[in-house]
Amino acid sequence: MFTSIYMVFAWVPTEADQGIVQRIFYFHVPCAWVAFAAFGLVAICGIFYLWLGQQVWDDLGYAAAETGMVFCTLVLITGSLWAKPIWGTWWTWDSRLTTTLILWLLYGGYLLLRAMAEDTPQVARFAAVIGIVAATDVPVVIVSVRLWRTIHPAVLVTRQGGHGLQDPRMVATLLLAMVAFTAMFAWLLMLRFATLRVRTRLAAAARDLNLAYASAAEL
């Protein structure tokens, strides 16, 4: 996993011919893919949690949301860093960046809910519902923002300039980057998930311990 990431770092510089800044594209796009996919994962975990009631789904969903948030933030940052030298502004309201911003806010809402409320099964249910609702919203956001943007083409230039991937080496790099970033996401996800599982098991153990103490006190 680590090796694939480092390969991307080493390989990419030898491939770019459109200017050094364009290399950000290889970070930006995979991060975006991960951010959106992670959100789908949050929703799926939410559905399973509501359906089956097993804590493991909630832990996975929470881990996915936290990890996905990191990648979503990276999309916005890399998008900003890319936009500045190319178009001279830190932010453009083009359809993809706007949609990602909305996604970022949705992530934020989910995480804020979990941060502010206690750790009860009830709150886990709330979070699952929010995750599901937000994920169903995303496609509608994509469609509506795109429609919104096509009415005002003057303000901005499409970033899809980067999509004219002439060189097959660029395609290969992109694909490799996608795989690498997905792998990194999966790795971070598992780390976070493991931490949450430990937390869940500790809570269950504490509960069982208290029950045992109470029974022992009666003897």
Binding site: L50, L106, G109, L113, A117, P121, R125, I130, S144, W148
Partner: protein, 224 residues
């Protein structure tokens, strides 16, 4: 009488009896619009259609947000939510009844807001306003669908009243985009055919979130 209409009728009756919700919603809408007039400085006439459209929807969101938190308030104060959950009514049906009540209150506030928009932005009371009706109704319905579900969550979370806008606004964005664009077009004299793309988004939005709310509400009203 069906359970749905029993709950709806009870909520409407409570509102008439001295509920403050509708009056407060109208007041909020008015205040928000006044602020926006000063902020946007409209010159008057149909050149201001986009600004007027935006203002109308800002007012809708503000009023809806404040009104939404109160949908479950009556049941929270006297614990009646437990009685409702215990009764034979389906949580999904309860959701629809609450949502219907919220929708009605929002529409009352919206009617007032449209009137104020026409006055403040120097538009005219003519047939173009009819084009607004489906847009506003669909927008209010979608907002009510979201808000009824979300407010049931945030009402039981610490500092939930702060969380509600944070959750609702990004979720409402598609309807907001479609609504503002459509309203702007309608005020500028567009025909129903031109509004079709915006109406389609609003309809899709409403169907999506009404279904989501209908299916998910039961998970949100349970206890620990």
């Amino acid at each position: 009488m069906s359970r749905f209409s029993a709950v709806l009728r009870k909520d409407l009756l409570l509102e008439l009896r001295g509920g403050e919700s509708t009056i407060a919603l109208v007041a909020i809408a008015l205040l928000v619009l006044i602020v926006l007039v000063f902020a946007l400085n409209p010159a008057g006439g149909s050149r201001d259609a986009p600004a007027a459209a935006g203002a109308l929807w800002v007012a809708l969101i503000f009023a809806g947000m404040l009104g939404a938190g109160r949908a479950m308030l009556a049941e929270r104060d006297n614990g009646a939510i437990r009685a409702l959950l215990l009764s034979p009514i389906d949580p999904a049906t309860l959701y629809l009844a609450k949502l219907a009540a919220s929708f009605i209150f929002m529409m009352v506030a919206e009617a007032a807001a449209v009137t104020m928009i026409v006055l403040f932005f120097n538009l005219s009371f003519d047939g173009r306003l009819l084009g607004l009706a489906p847009l506003i109704a669909l927008g209010a319905l979608g907002f009510a669908a979201l808000a009824t579900l979300l407010a049931a969550i945030t009402g039981r979370v610490r500092a939930g009243d702060l969380l509600l806008p944070i959750l609702i606004v990004p979720l409402f964005v598609p309807a907001l985009i479609a609504g503002v664009k459509g309203t702007g077009a309608a005020l500028a004299g567009a025909q129903l055919a031109d509004l079709a793309q915006w109406l389609k988004i609003l309809v899709a939005f409403d169907v999506l979130f009404l279904t989501a709310g209908y299916l998910l509400f039961e998970y949100v009203v349970g206890e620990d």
